[in-house]
Subunit: 623 residues, 2 copies
């Protein structure tokens, strides 16, 4: 068996070295559809005006740093929500609150989105996401679709596997893709084995305080951690994550990190880790509680699996976890029950870096190897016991029976799917209606927009006898993963409350005022259809007059408590813009460095007299 | 007549002061469609995989600073192209070239897009756009869909009317929405009448040098200029633009700039202005050639029109220009021929600020006032002599006969259309197939994404007996205007040429090298599937080692000359990311301020071993 996998892996690597290859087209793809099937697909995805989509799709925006929201089945792009990167359309990164959340960073690499869960179901309250580029986690409130907190996680080099939340949102786990010395300290790569570490961070969300927090961290070997999933039901206290580069390669990973036939799934019990923290079984590293699993045993185990796995996914019933081989052609089905038994019986096959290794054969249930399917990356589930695995190299989704391993159906996708996402797919009860292939390479699928192409998402109908692609849509770079939630679970507000106790909010036109304290000018103003009022007592209420060098603080309340009446506030030539949603108060701070005359205006179309909603910032020259 | 307009205007203002109102629904809207019509519409907009959209829609992104590209008729969002705001997904604003183009600004308010034209037809070569926020113009090359130049235009406060290009792209004109003193100098608003100016800038594009340039400027009264259009055919040497605030209000424009019954259309002859410049008839103001129309006559004229017009649009045959009243309920059709005759005959009705005023009655052909239509903003055209005007307040598009003024058809839209855009609509030969309503208020049309809603675009089929909305799609804030071009006119490249003479490009793996000069470390590296090579001779070719405080310059060439194989280059915790398209060389510069160990990696999924495409930046601490 081992030899076979190694031989096939060699073939796969050969194929990769040249270029990606694509599955042959067959009757399943839309290209050869007859007219009536096209018409039927058209109707399946068409949502006439007056009706609404059935699901939200939240797709990570990758190195755009943002989150893309689509409607399913129409696959219409509803909105891009800024998370880790500034967005002048909304003022994210300009207003004081979001500017402070963003810290020193102007971008992020948003990888995996995860809805908050209750009892293993998406509860529609929050969305979490992580930033591989700058080691951050974020939480978005789905009442407002805005970011409530961003946390920079110390000691970590790129939390790629994250975020997957536990069954009741107790934790999200952020293991690192890149090993770095604690605190990003300087160390040459000759010291990789001793000084570099992989770190798994357990992050909690305090809903009352709307704050993220690192509960504890675990110091792991300097491997790369790729993807993860939380356990469900009987495995709910556990989580799993994949590794690669257990070779400890320090250069040319594309060759050196693919030498061994086996890497690991890391299996950990967060309840046990929690107990260790409570018992003081940790070291403090850069202010964090760091558990050393070699010193404090019983929380973490290794499961050998086919080399360089990408995804590891827990079945909806929580009984199995499935590793996708990436450089092997197989999916491997493991049993939680068998793993728990092996752990209980201390039946180990050695250890590495002080972490016990479980015996592969004794917990592995099945290696699933669909004919000519290459590059399995990630598995999703339906409500009938079937698994759907993306095949990056053979560009298809394979439907198979988790119990038997039997291949049931296959559908070619265009092209090179990374992840796929099923409707309510990461819950304990997937819907089984749709799956969407998140394809990395669109090539010539759409009108060209130059050498840099969009990615592509393909909506697949699961309700028929065979899987059928019913819509293909381009998408900005770059969805790495996504989640699909029933639309009726999400309950956004329409306007912000008229909170008369909120600091700096002004609700009555006559209360708008400008005050000065030393070199600071503070404005408590109002935005309303169709004017700004900064100083109710002034001859010109819509003018802000300051002196060159003054610090200017503007609090602006939108007193139009009507649906969809958002105002903008931009200052010409002053590099400033923000948005004030109905009922919201936003604050912007800047130093009036340039003397002169600067128009200010509403940047978000608000009424027929929007064009007239303007005023001036007058900056009197020094001395 | 005058009284009637004034009375109706009063009503309109009353309506505006409360809230926007909406047209009654009737059988025309999709809400009440029977099943067969819905099915038919679904098929009209469905583009099966393997086929492509017929048109590109380029929609301005407003205060996002970006350009949105959609396919028509599918209305799928293909790509957001960054223009005035940084975009980490592509590295726009990080790589040296785009960073320099962006100057001191991190955002823009992208208003009107305009394709380059030849003989009055879109030629598919370039797209121009303007930034109201920071007084800039940009040009995008449609071979690559990237920005080639950004020009900051001095002496101007928000070029809102722009950009509309002349028939052979000789000029685009950028008149200002906000009056400011020349050079944004400080002046109180008591000095508005004397010191503040509206300025129209004539901008040229040098295709060989790929540079924008201000040819000349015209000093206008401190009015606000709203929209503009270039002449066509017999009027090709002319352009028109609308004004408001001819009242010279300096505060509360929503009331004070709507006092007069009439504002103006400004009519100018750019050939005459060109001659003035050639004859030295200008003053030099902050380095610009500034024409004073009171001193140098014969280039500029005023046409009285119903108060606060928004759009002014030239008919495809170039014979008429049509003003949309905004605060009057009427469209006014003017004759270029009559205007030219009046100018020739010097038949003026006085002058203002030294600019001759044409007699309204003698050049006006018709006031068009469809029953209960309120808030006309902008007019587009088809191939059969019909005009289509958006009604912001009554939320509809009215189709009318330009020759007779007769209303032919009306369709309610949801809700509050600003502009509309017809297929090839600003050319001398519109296609007449589609028009898209760019609605400012989506309200509850789509799944909610919080209090801040998307805008909405509605695709209207013009080929049937009646106009019919066949698709509605949400869109990010905020399309102010758009243009639609036949897809086969645009010829993007697939990969960049392998240009062996291009400075800093490295095409051979063994040529990658790192050199040091003083405190500057220069890297000439390669990105390829699936690795970085920075120093071919080093033990670890994918590592960049520098000292704290070094200036680091990285030139990176993507040597994968295959379609859609774009690489990214991000450095963990260093706030840096850029994209390198196939065959492209990009440069990024930064100072290594933080000592330590920082992983670097490919941020744009490129192959099955993308995950392994990484290395390290090692920054050795000082002393």
């Amino acid at each position: 068996m081992k030899k076979l996998i190694a031989a096939i892996s060699g073939l796969v690597l050969g194929a990769l070295a040249s270029t990606v290859i694509f599955a042959d087209f067959n009757g399943n793809n839309n290209n050869n559809k007859n007219q009536s099937s096209t018409a039927s697909n058209a109707q399946k995805v068409y949502v006439p005006f007056g009706q609404k989509d059935e699901y939200y799709l939240f797709a990570s925006g990758g190195h755009s740093g943002q989150m893309f929201i689509y409607g399913v089945p129409s696959m219409r792009h509803i909105r891009t929500i800024p998370v880790f990167s500034p967005d002048s359309a909304t003022g994210h990164g300009w207003d004081k609150h979001s500017r402070e959340l963003m810290g020193e960073y102007n971008w992020g690499d948003l990888h995996h989105p995860a809805f908050s869960e209750k009892g293993g179901e998406y509860d529609g309250k929050y969305m979490f996401a992580t930033d591989v580029a700058n080691n951050r986690a974020a939480v978005m409130d789905l009442k407002t679709f805005t970011v409530k907190d961003i946390l920079e996680v110390p000691n970590t080099g790129g939390p790629h596997c994250a975020a997957f939340v536990t069954e009741n949102t107790e934790y999200m786990f952020l293991p690192t893709r890149f090993a770095v010395p604690f605190g990003h300290d300087y160390a040459t790569l000759d010291e990789y084995k001793t000084k570099y570490k992989g770190v798994m961070s357990a992050v909690t969300f305090n809903e009352a305080k709307q704050k993220l927090n690192v509960a504890y961290q675990v110091a792991l070997p300097p491997w790369s951690f790729d993807l993860s999933d939380a356990g469900k039901k009987t495995s709910k206290d556990w989580a799993v994550m994949t590794t690669y580069n257990t070779e400890l390669a320090t250069t040319e990973q594309e060759i050196n990190a693919s030498q061994k036939d086996r890497d690991y799934i890391v299996l950990f019990n967060w309840k046990e880790l929690e107990k260790m923290v409570a018992a003081g079984k940790y070291d403090t590293v850069n202010g964090q509680k760091m558990i050393d699993p070699a010193k404090h045993r019983g929380g973490i185990y290794l499961v050998p699996t086919a080399k360089s796995p990408h995804g590891v996914d827990v079945t909806p019933d929580g009984k199995r976890f499935i590793a996708a081989g990436k450089l092997a052609p197989a999916m491997t089905v493991f049993s939680f029950e068998k793993a728990f038994k092996a752990i209980k019986d201390k039946k180990f096959a050695g250890e590495q870096e002080g972490i016990p290794i479980l015996d592969y054969e004794s917990i592995m249930e099945r290696e699933v190897n669909p004919e000519n399917a290459l590059g399995p990356l990630h598995t999703q589930f339906d409500d009938k016991g079937f698994a759907y695995t993306t095949m990056f190299i053979s560009s298809e989704i394979v439907k198979w029976n988790v119990d038997s391993g039997e291949t049931v159906d296959r559908v070619p996708v265009q092209y090179s799917p990374g992840h796929a996402v099923a409707a309510e797919g990461d819950t304990v009860s997937p819907d089984g209606k749709y799956i969407i292939a998140l394809n990395k390479i669109a090539k010539d699928s759409y009108l060209s927009v130059g050498p840099s192409h969009p990615e592509s998402m393909q909506l697949i109908d699961l309700t028929g006898k065979k899987m059928e692609i019913i819509q293909s849509v381009p998408v900005n770079p770059e969805p790495h993963y996504a989640q699909i939630i029933k639309a009726n679970k999400v309950k956004p507000i329409v306007v912000y409350d008229k909170d008369t106790k909120r600091p700096n909010s002004i609700w009555n036109q006559k209360d708008a005022h400008i005050s000065r304290s030393g070199n600071t000018v503070e404005v408590n103003g109002i935005a309303m259809r169709s004017k700004f009022i900064f100083d109710a007592k002034a001859e010109r209420k819509d003018v802000i007059s300051v002196k060159e060098g003054d610090k200017v603080v503007i609090h602006l309340t939108n007193i139009d408590l009507d649906q969809d009446i958002t105002h903008g506030f931009g200052i010409n030539s002053y590099n400033l813009n923000m948005e004030v949603q109905p009922g919201q108060t936003q604050t912007i701070e800047f130093t009036a460095k340039k003397a002169g005359t600067y128009p200010l205006y509403c940047t978000n179309f608000c009424s027929a007299l929007h064009q007239e909603m303007s005023g001036y910032l007058l900056v009197e020259p020094k001395g």
